[in-house]
């Protein structure tokens, strides 16, 4: 019992980290994915303000034309209420002056009434700010005034004599914040670009993973295993270098190699090969570049894991095989590979997830091009949620992209565990049963 408690104590930091760095972000992503949150709606929730565009929406949404007209008009009216306000704020002299010159006058907008007040040349209104305060007292239009709460807007609507029956619809159209919706998921299913991102991601992850992260990683680990210790260590260190280079520099070197003024083009030019951009000429070029750039970095991870796993295989087994006359290939096939199931599972699962979520090398090299041919899912999420020329970032839609990625990642992990028979790996040795 007590030991159990100590056990819990030991895993507390890990649980804490998982909750803070994984569960909470994932939950937030899931929540945001069901909203239409964007820069325009803000994050914290909205206010209520009737603008020209919300009026148009109301007009389209069949709010009675009379009400729409009533909302659009209003403007500024020099009436008794307004004059009472002036008297309280500026005194009787100004009130008389305004009443004499402007009583019952209507103005379409604020600029016009401010002009009229300015023309009075009243000493109380010489300063712009005072003139604006005076003009505000005559505002009868409900347009362009921000209200913190729906009640406040409803009150303003009542004052403006807008029919009570229309208030609900108006308040809804005036809301500036985000609301709950499943539209992001509908869009995801219906947009032609989504399928392309999905196929691109499938291609990117599977080819890079199988050929480089696992295939080349295994090949390097096994081939260096049979080399003398010092040589193999040097060789592995060289393969490890791309991983410790900053991505920007690493990709820059690839660009120097592949651009039309780069190394490959320059070497081939004397042979009569036209100078082309080897990274971007066609979709095939771009894909080869993207997979090579990621694969060369990815292979080193598998190489290190696999190499140390091979070292853990008892030497005696290999020696016995050698004595029995097994070839190198037979040693690899029947001794090394069968004992590598666990590291291969680990590298496969780990690298699948990191490839799914990574796009920095693609962003830096092809930028998703040519023509979004190499744009992957994670990059689409980034672009949608965090990078938009017009400035209106689509947080909700971006979160939906990201959520799908989380779900696919989780599903794949479960499948891998099943496929590699994880249960058997963790079961007690037969001798202990």
């Amino acid at each position: 019992m007590r030991q159990d408690r100590i056990g819990f104590l030991f895993i507390t930091p890990a649980v804490f980290a998982v909750v803070v760095f994984y569960l909470v972000p994932v939950l937030m992503t899931a929540v945001i994915a069901f909203t239409d949150m964007s820069t325009a709606t803000g994050i914290r929730g909205g206010d209520y303000v009737l603008t020209e565009s919300s009026l148009r929406k109301l007009d389209d949404a069949s709010l009675p034309a009379d009400t729409v007209a009533q909302l659009a008009e209003g403007g500024f009216v020099v009436d008794a209420d307004g004059l009472a306000g002036i008297e309280a704020q500026f005194g009787a002299a100004l009130t008389t002056r305004i009443a004499t010159a402007l009583l019952d006058e209507k103005f379409d907008n604020r600029r016009e009434i401010e002009r009229a007040l300015n023309d009075l040349r009243a000493p109380e209104l010489r300063i712009t700010r005072d003139r604006k305060a005076a003009a505000a007292l005559f505002q009868r239009s409900v347009l362009n005034t921000r209200h913190d709460t729906p009640e406040s807007l409803r009150a303003a609507l009542s004052v403006a004599d807008i029919p009570l029956a229309d208030h609900d619809q108006i308040v809804q159209a005036a809301y500036t914040g985000w609301s709950w919706t499943t539209r992001n998921f509908e869009l995801l299913v219906s947009l032609p670009s989504t399928l392309r991102y999905a196929l691109n991601t499938l291609m990117y992850v599977s080819v890079t993973l199988v050929v480089f992260n696992i295939g080349l990683g295994l090949f390097l680990a096994i081939s260096t295993f049979y080399l003398p210790e010092r040589t193999s260590a040097t060789f592995r260190a060289i393969w490890f270098m791309p991983r410790i280079l900053p991505p920007v520099l690493y990709v820059l070197m690839w660009k120097w190699m592949m651009l039309d003024s780069g190394f490959i083009a320059s070497v081939l030019a004397p042979l009569g090969v036209a100078r082309i951009n080897w990274m971007m000429e066609t979709e095939v070029h771009a894909w080869v570049a993207v997979i090579l750039i990621n694969g060369v970095v990815g292979a080193s991870f598998g190489m290190i894991i696999f190499a140390s796993a091979i070292k853990a295989i008892p030497q005696t087994m290999l020696m016995a095989a050698e004595v029995d006359g097994a070839s190198r290939w037979q040693q690899v096939r029947f001794i090394i590979l069968p004992q590598m199931r666990w590291p291969i599972l680990f590298v496969t699962a780990y690298q699948t997830l990191s490839l799914l979520a990574s796009f920095e090398y693609i962003l830096l090299s092809t930028g998703g091009g040519p023509g979004s041919a190499t744009e992957v899912w994670a990059m689409a999420a980034f672009r949608t949620a965090l990078n938009n020329y017009g400035g209106n970032l689509q947080y909700g839609m971006g979160a939906t992209f990201a959520l799908v990625l989380v779900l696919i990642g989780t599903a794949l992990s479960l499948i891998y565990l099943r496929f590699f028979n994880f249960q058997a790996l963790l079961s007690k040795p037969r001798i202990e049963r």
């Binding site: 820069t39 206010d47 712009t128 362009n144 670009s193 971007m280 091009g369 020329y389």
Partner: protein, 446 residues
């Protein structure tokens, strides 16, 4: 970084008998480099003037201006502003694209300048009305134009001469383009000839911008496309114009005058190429004038001719140019007094003499009419020429919250047509499907 973290709120303190008002105003400036220093230095100058004016009125006013401009890029800047605004720590004044007004106004990050400033009084009454319009949304004046620019089409004079144009004909190009006599069809022909004659390398006959930007919408407009319908307040997708616009770039690639892999070319390389005659024709911005000089071109007017972006040469096409002014916006931070002071500073910074410092230092154009009487501006050959040839014909991209999505989709369609991954027709069909799904009722398809 420290500046970034400093609390930017005001401290309106009362000390002793005299009320000395102290304000801390922070300015964040997007898309800016050292050459754009007057975006915040103008506010510093304005603070000095406002303090002096207060002193004459017998009031003690103290304003400290803090600034930040090194954000990395537009995306980082916009993220920084929105996140700071959400956290209630935004700077008081922001210099940014006019396109940000619509989303930021809806989100409540900014307050209208018309709440504080008299638009009928100098200097705002002197600002070009079309620029004031660009800084407004839904009839509300949210911002004040900080600078203006325009995006011309450039010709390398020597190459034009070599393919048979006389000096007089080259000088007459601005007019020919404006009247629609010289169109993008001529561009294809002449750039093709420059490549054939070996004046420029293959792919450098027409050498466009290397990344997404307002520039590309100009070519859509060249073919008669419109982005916005003012009557309904909706965005517009003109299928025919969009297809022809995509087709133009496909034709340019097929003719060998533009490279299929041009997108993503290094900007530094691009500037060096166009400033030194390695391209026959290209398009850029008025601010390129300064950059070309830094790239070693000492005789701009002797080597380069500039015009509006030519019309497409189809029915309904028109020569045009887009201006993408930056604007001063006042954020909804602190109390009304702070916003009032911030607005006053912006107003003073817009005065012709002060704004001209920025215009000339950064090769931008004026925001107000009387700047043409400010000697510094009037005597600058580029500002003078560009203002008269380009600015009267400039329009802007619409201030619509969904315009970002529209522009991104338009660009990715162009990219796929240009690089040959889709035909222009298919790219436009996909663009239409995408925009119809995303924008719904906010889009008119023609």
């Amino acid at each position: 970084m420290k500046r970034f973290l400093t609390a930017t709120a005001l401290c309106g303190t009362l000390s002793g008998a005299a009320a000395a008002q102290t304000y801390e105003i922070t300015v964040w400036s997007g898309g800016s480099g050292e050459a754009d220093s007057y975006r915040w230095e103008a506010i510093e100058m304005a603070a000095d003037i406002l303090e002096r004016e207060a002193a004459i009125r017998g009031k003690e006013l103290s304003i400290t201006v803090d600034y930040k401009f090194d954000f990395g890029g537009w995306a980082e800047f916009k993220q920084a502003v929105t996140l700071a605004a959400e956290a209630g720590e935004a700077p008081e004044i922001v210099v940014t694209s006019h396109l940000d007004i619509a989303p930021w106004a809806q989100a409540g990050y900014i307050v209208p300048v018309e709440d504080y400033l008299d638009l009928d009084a100098w200097p705002l009454s002197d600002v070009y009305p079309n620029l004031m319009e660009i800084a407004s949304v839904g009839g509300v004046q949210w911002g004040v134009p900080q600078d203006s620019e325009s995006r011309p089409f450039f010709f390398w004079r020597d190459h034009m001469r070599a393919i048979g144009y006389s000096d007089a004909e080259i000088d007459a190009l601005p007019e020919a383009v404006q009247k629609g006599e010289y169109t993008l069809k001529n561009v294809l022909q002449d750039a093709g000839r420059a490549v054939e004659m070996g004046l420029v390398e293959k792919g450098m006959g027409f050498y466009p911008r290397v990344s997404n930007g307002p520039d590309y919408a100009q070519f859509y407009q060249s073919f008669g496309g419109e982005m916005y319908d003012a009557a309904t307040g909706k965005l517009v997708l003109d299928r025919a114009a969009m297809t022809e616009f995509y087709q133009f770039f496909v034709d340019a690639v097929e003719a060998g005058i533009t490279s299929r892999t041009h997108i993503g070319t290094d900007w530094n390389e691009w500037y060096a190429d166009v400033a030194n005659g390695r391209a026959a024709m290209w398009h850029g911005g008025t601010w390129h004038y300064g950059r070309y000089q830094r790239e070693g071109n000492e005789d701009f007017f002797g080597t380069i001719a500039f015009t509006l972006i030519p019309a497409g040469g189809n029915e309904g096409g028109r020569a045009n140019t887009i201006t993408h002014p930056l604007v001063y916006l006042i954020t909804d931070q602190g109390d009304d007094d702070v916003q009032n002071i911030a607005a006053q500073l912006v107003e003073i910074a817009t005065e012709p003499r002060i704004n001209s410092l920025h215009a000339i230092q950064s090769s931008h154009l004026a925001v107000s009419k009387s700047q043409s009487s400010v000697p510094l501006y009037a005597q600058n050959p580029w500002a003078n020429a560009a203002t008269s040839v380009l600015l009267p014909y400039a329009n802007s991209q619409p201030n619509h919250p969904d315009f970002g999505a529209y522009a991104e989709a338009m660009w990715s369609g162009l990219e796929s047509a240009w690089t040959g991954t889709q035909t222009p027709e298919n790219a436009v069909a996909e663009l239409e499907a995408e925009l119809t799904a995303v924008l719904g009722d906010n889009l008119i398809v023609r």
